[in-house]
């Protein structure tokens, strides 16, 4: 059976990481495996806190990042789930572990903020920002299909940028609807999801839509670099009030597509 790895820490984020991992397992028809990286020397109180989760926990050894990445690289592992430790403010710079894992792993990674809103039950509504590049769209395609298959509502959000915006917009009241239909067909498939769009700062608008839609998941393609689109990913991770699923895209292809303005 396929596996979702929940990498928990011995703090207050652990229950939500585990809960989100279970949700993803349910979505993907997988089972959840919980891992924890012991610090050196081990903290005896940590074991007690982890025991409260009521889950079998596989203990890993330092170094933390490599330990989690190695575990995620295993056969049958679909994705990892990790807490996003940071300051409990509106904007939370990512912790070093999350940063390390997301840049090293080749597998999808769900990053769970410490104060994630509770959304019991399966994923009900996912916001999927798409820039309109083929690479980014391909990266999220399978997940979008899984979400739709699980009856989740998929809200695609596109923020107009110079490289990806239509060069002409004759009559917004007519054209944007037509553009949106075509965008969905091209980038997520016919009859899948609905599209909303924004102008202005990309990350800010994505977070705005995610909040307005009361989304319980944001799905982002991720080129594993913090430049260009990666800066948007970073900002969304820092500001999202809900888990963010990062789907690695082909970085070389992403760069080429960005250069071509596709």
């Amino acid at each position: 059976m396929q596996v979702v790895i929940a990498a928990v820490t011995d703090d207050s984020t652990a229950p939500s990481v585990l809960a989100e991992a279970d949700r993803m397992s349910s979505l993907l028809g997988a089972r959840t495996e919980v891992v924890h990286v012991e610090e050196e020397p081990p903290d005896p109180r940590a074991a007690d806190r982890l025991a409260e989760l009521g889950a079998d926990i596989k203990l890993l050894r330092d170094p933390v990042v490599e330990g989690i990445v190695d575990e995620m690289a295993g056969d049958g592992v679909l994705l990892g789930v990790i807490g996003c430790r940071g300051t409990p403010h509106r904007y939370r710079p990512l912790g070093s572990v999350a940063l390390g894992v997301m840049t090293m792993t080749a597998k999808p990674l769900l990053v769970v903020p410490p104060d994630a809103r509770e959304h019991p039950g399966p994923v009900a509504r996912a916001v999927v920002p798409l820039e309109g590049s083929e690479v980014a769209s391909q990266a999220v395609a399978e997940t979008v299909r899984d979400l739709v298959g699980a009856q989740a509502e998929v809200v695609v959000v596109h923020v107009f940028e110079e490289a990806t915006a239509p060069r002409f917009l004759d009559r917004p009241e007519h054209d944007l609807g037509a553009w949106a239909d075509e965008f969905l067909v091209r980038h997520v498939g016919p009859g899948v999801g609905r599209l909303t769009w924004r102008t202005g700062g990309t990350a800010r608008r994505i977070l705005e839509v995610a909040d307005e839609e009361d989304a319980d998941l944001v799905v982002l393609s991720w080129g594993q670099q913090f430049t260009g689109h990666g800066a948007v990913v970073s900002a969304v991770l820092g500001g999202a009030a809900m888990p963010v699923l990062l789907l690695p895209a082909d970085t070389v292809a992403t760069a080429a597509a960005a250069t071509a303005g596709t």
Binding site: F160, A165, D170, L176, E182, T199
Partner: protein
């Protein structure tokens, strides 16, 4: 003239009868078959020709044109062939080695054309032949002048009893004997004899003499088979049959004794795309590209049988793949719906998107009827019954190629592995008829006929037929009714399908289904072949007086032809025409009619198809009542036309919609784009000026112009200083809403008032109103600032944030998408030509020299965020004498739909952009402008172009304007008054002339 042809096939050079023909002959349908007679169709002049006669008549029955090309006379050919075809295919006899053409019907042959030599030419031919005989004799070669045929003289090089009448089968022996005889006399061979005859002809003043040889004879003539083929080429072209649809057959293409075979004269460079086969022995081989079949007349009969079989199986016709007239598009799931728009077929009354026959979830198949809308407050063009769907198993995401033939209005599809081919058209000759054929592997192309369908278990050639009908109601009593008949047959491995459909649509009443079924019956009686012939002929006729050519830039030329194709497809020139912003190519804008129709499409059609432009105006004329009601409801007089309209002429502009920021925003275009009322008046007069339609101008045209002026008279408000203002309006630059005194709107209204005054002034009781209009026009504020010699776009515009486009991004870009609506509205960035649009439409309303100042100011501020914008600027740049800069914008406009730059081409083509592309070419680069004195032509060609030629209609007569970098030529059928840039005029008499230098310029 001989020509290097494309690489040929080696199919069957062994001459064995019954050998399978190559795919080039069995997989392709030819619409015209041209063949040599003696040696190709028959073994000799005494042979029984019943087999060929039967096939020729059957081919004509099947809508194939058949042409016999021979050196002999009609008595010989008709006496032997004796075919009496009933049509629709024509039988032509091109005889006497290029000097005569006969058409043959059930009554027999009728002379169509004869080249009559002058007495001087006849004497020269006699002298040349005698001189040749004499020179041969001087060398010791006995030859004999054996006949004096029409326009030629025939010299027998071997007048010996043993070679009196050698059969074709002995050609090799004949050549050997003649060469031996000539060489014995010290002559180099047959080639030397031909050279000798050419010299003799030249010495007698026949420099252009055609000298040929069939080995036994050498002939000196005024014409040869190349003249026949030129006639055939031109005749077929006028009927929409291009060279790629022609099969040429002969038996002597290769050299004989070093002399090109007589049939090589049929290899014209301009017929390069034709398929050429030789059934002769061809001892010297065949030229490149000629398929050598061998086998003589028996093999030729096989070739004809293969063509007849294709017609019996109703296989899809071919497309003439002329790269200057065809658009080739490939698969691509991302651009599926874009391709469907690009390849939409319309006939002015209905339109069908180029959806693949299997439809699919990324496809948007759609059948629309012009002017038939749904009911309700948000009407849109009604989606009619689909007629192109077939049970096609997936051919995968790649491998399909679509060919849109602009010249004949057909769409063909072919899979790389030939597992599927389809062909369709919306009849231009009979707009209520649609036709489709398909051919494919039985595993790919299923049976579209329910029940009784032939299947694998059935015998070969099993066929089935089904007739169905469907009605779609509009919700307001109107609707679209369609009846269709589908025929299918299959062999063990292949299936073919033919579908004919007839339709009727009506906005107000549901069409009579029985009448549609009757229409289908008539179409079936005519048959696919005859329908296709008339369809192609109609398109060829349209192009005859509308074609454009751009020498030195095939890409731009194809783009303009593509634009013209869709413009001409959008309106059929009868009744009225509601031309939506996407025409009949897609559902975009619900098919609503905007100013796009009058300002961007109509001017092109007024020059290209005046009846179509008139039908567009009739749409407005019939909705004058609604426009008057709208004016009254708003508290004004006259007629106020809607920004968006559909069936009944009400304003159907949405009141709110999603804005660039994704939020619902109010839509003010319907309330504020007042200029459309003047735009329609402008279009009415532009039409009248180009066509000279006095009846329209005196009647409905006058009503449009005067009623529009009355609206503006009541709409303008006078200030205390007596100046007139139009407040709370929206100009073409839609980034700035609710402005006062938009320059474009006010200038157009002023122009409208003045033209209306001119119309009223001569009418009883009209003088007072005319005087009021003139007075008001003089008071209108237009933003002109004498100190700068430019216009302020609207009051307060100059105080806005002074952004220029390149501060934000490289144009074109949609500023509202990048900056948001509010920021954009607070800046001087403009969406499209506004002040400059006034210069474009009514240049005489603006002060001299202000175009330059306005252009310098507004061009940097224009982001070209509207698809209407680039070609307008291109037109003005060309007029300003900056054609190379203009070309950049022209090319941008030409790629707008091809490259899906709006990302909405999937919703249909941008018809206004297509119209303005033609306008940029004609009104910009060629500098054509209709003035009171005549046609002004002031070209400014880009350096990359060597010449431009535009065909159009001017005051009821066809005119061709051609310009290169130094000359202008006019071709006309009626005297044409041409206005020179310096202001003088010159009258060009038919058939036309090159204009002398404009010395005063």
């Amino acid at each position: 003239m001989s020509v290097q042809r494309r690489a040929g096939s080696d199919a069957g050079s062994d001459g064995s009868p019954g050998r399978l023909l190559s795919g080039a002959l069995t997989d392709r349908s030819f619409d015209a078959i041209v063949f040599d007679w003696d040696g190709t169709a028959v073994t000799d002049r005494a042979a029984d020709a019943r087999d060929i006669r039967r096939r020729v008549e059957a081919l004509c029955d099947a809508a194939v044109d058949v042409v016999v090309v021979s050196g002999t006379h009609v008595g010989n050919i008709d006496g032997q062939l004796a075919a009496r075809p009933r049509g629709p295919g024509r039988l032509w006899l091109c005889l006497n080695r290029g000097s005569e053409v006969f058409a043959v019907d059930e009554q027999g042959p009728h002379l169509l054309q004869r080249r009559d030599a002058t007495a001087a030419e006849d004497r020269a031919l006699d002298r040349a032949a005698a001189r040749a005989v004499s020179r041969l004799a001087a060398l010791g070669v006995e030859s004999q002048l054996v006949s004096e045929r029409l326009n030629r003289r025939k010299i027998d090089l071997i007048p010996l009893p043993a070679w009196r009448d050698p059969p074709k089968a002995e050609i090799i022996e004949l050549v050997r004997a003649v060469e031996s005889r000539l060489r014995a006399a010290g002559l180099g061979g047959l080639k030397a004899a031909v050279d000798l005859a050419e010299d003799a002809a030249r010495d007698e003043g026949l420099a252009g003499a055609r000298v040929s040889s069939d080995a036994k004879h050498v002939e000196i003539g005024l014409t040869d088979k190349s003249d026949s083929l030129e006639w055939v080429r031109d005749r077929l072209w006028r009927d929409g049959v291009g060279p790629g649809l022609v099969l040429i057959a002969g038996d002597e293409f290769g050299p004989l004794g070093g002399v090109p075979g007589s049939d090589s004269r049929m290899l014209l460079a301009s017929l390069e795309r034709a398929t050429v086969v030789s059934v002769g022995a061809e001892p010297g081989g065949v030229p490149d590209g000629v398929i050598q079949l061998g086998g003589g007349p028996a093999r030729f009969l096989e070739v004809l049988d293969a063509q007849l079989e294709r017609r019996q199986r109703r296989c899809p016709p071919a497309v003439d793949e002329d790269p200057t007239w065809t658009v080739r598009l490939s698969d691509g799931p991302q651009l599926e719906r874009v391709r469907e728009s690009l390849t939409a077929l319309a006939n002015g009354r209905c339109g069908t998107r180029g959806a693949r026959e299997e439809d699919g979830d990324t496809s948007r198949p759609l059948f629309l009827v012009g002017g038939v809308y749904t009911d309700g407050s948000h009407p849109h063009l009604l989606a009619g019954p689909r007629w192109t769907s077939l049970p096609v198993a997936s051919t995968g995401e790649a491998g399909n190629t679509w060919l849109l033939d602009l010249r004949t209005g057909v769409l063909a599809r072919e899979h790389d592995d030939r597992s599927l081919r389809t062909f369709r058209f919306a009849s231009a000759a009979t707009p209520s008829v649609l036709a489709l054929r398909a051919e494919g592997n039985a595993a790919i192309l299923g049976s579209p006929v329910a029940g009784g369908s032939p299947d694998a278990a059935a015998e070969d050639d099993a066929a089935a037929e089904e007739q169905t009908s469907a009605v779609v109601g509009s919700g307001s009593g109107g609707g679209i009714c369609m009846a269709r008949c589908t025929w299918t047959s299959r062999t063990a491995t292949r299936r073919t399908v033919e579908r004919l459909a007839a339709w009727q649509g009506d906005l107000e009443a549901l069409p009579d289904q029985a009448a549609v079924v009757e229409e289908l019956g008539r179409a079936r009686h005519l048959g696919f072949g005859r329908l296709l012939m008339s369809h192609r002929r109609e398109w060829a006729t349209r192009w005859e007086h509308t074609a454009v050519s751009i020498e030195g830039d095939e890409r731009s030329q194809l783009a303009v032809r593509f634009a013209l194709f869709h413009l001409l497809s959008s309106v059929d020139g009868s009744d009225e025409a509601a031309v939506g912003a996407r025409g009949l190519t897609g559902p975009g804008y619900g098919g609503h009619v905007f100013w796009d129709a009058e300002v961007f499409v109509l001017p092109a059609l007024a020059c290209l198809r005046p009846s179509a432009a008139r039908a567009m105006l009739e749409y407005r004329v019939r909705r004058l009542g609604a426009a008057r009601a709208a004016a009254t409801a708003a508290g004004f007089r006259g007629a106020r036309f809607p920004w968006e309209s559909a069936g009944d002429g009400r304003d159907v502009t949405p009141r709110e919609g999603h804005g660039p920021g994704g939020r619902f925003v109010p839509i003010l275009t319907g309330k504020q784009e007042e200029h459309i009322t003047a735009d329609i008046a402008w279009a009415a007069l532009a039409y009248a000026e180009w066509t000279g339609d006095a009846a329209f101008l005196a009647g409905p045209g006058r009503e449009l112009v005067v009623e529009a002026a009355r609206y503006f008279e009541s709409r303008f408000a006078l200030d205390g200083d007596g100046s007139a203002h139009l407040r709370n309006v929206l100009g073409p630059d839609e980034y700035h809403v609710s402005v006062d005194d938009n320059c474009y709107t006010n200038v157009m209204a002023r122009w409208n008032l003045r033209r209306a005054a001119e119309l009223l002034a001569g009418e009883p009781g009209g003088a007072a109103e005319a005087a009021r209009f003139v007075d008001l026009a003089a008071r209108i504020a237009d933003g002109y600032v004498p100190a700068t010699n430019r216009h302020e776009q609207f009051r307060g515009y100059d105080d806005l944030e002074p952004l220029v486009a390149r501060d934000v991004a490289t144009p074109p870009f949609a500023a509202d998408l990048l900056l948001g609506r509010r920021r954009t509205a607070g800046s001087q960035l403009i969406k499209q030509a506004d002040v400059l649009m006034a210069h474009r439409l009514v240049p005489d309303e603006l002060p001299a020299g202000s175009l330059e100042a306005d252009f310098e100011f507004y061009e940097p501020r224009t982001v070209h965020g509207s698809s209407l914008s680039p070609a307008v600027h291109a037109t003005l740049l060309a007029r300003l004498g900056r054609p190379d800069e203009a070309l950049e914008l022209f090319e941008l406009a030409s790629r707008l739909d091809f490259d899906d730059l709006t990302r909405t081409t999937s919703d249909g083509l941008h018809l206004a952009s297509l119209g303005s592309l033609w306008q940029a070419l004609s009104f910009g680069f060629l500098g054509m402008r209709r003035t009171a004195a005549g046609l002004l032509v002031e070209p400014h060609l880009p350096s990359r172009w060597s010449a431009v030629e535009v065909n159009c209609w001017l005051r009821g007569a066809p005119v061709t304007v051609r310009a290169d970098h130094s000359t202008v030529s006019i071709t006309c059928s009626e005297p044409a008054v041409i206005v020179r840039p310096s202001g003088g005029t010159i009258t060009i008499e038919p058939p036309g002339a090159e204009l002398p230098p404009d010395k005063e310029a």
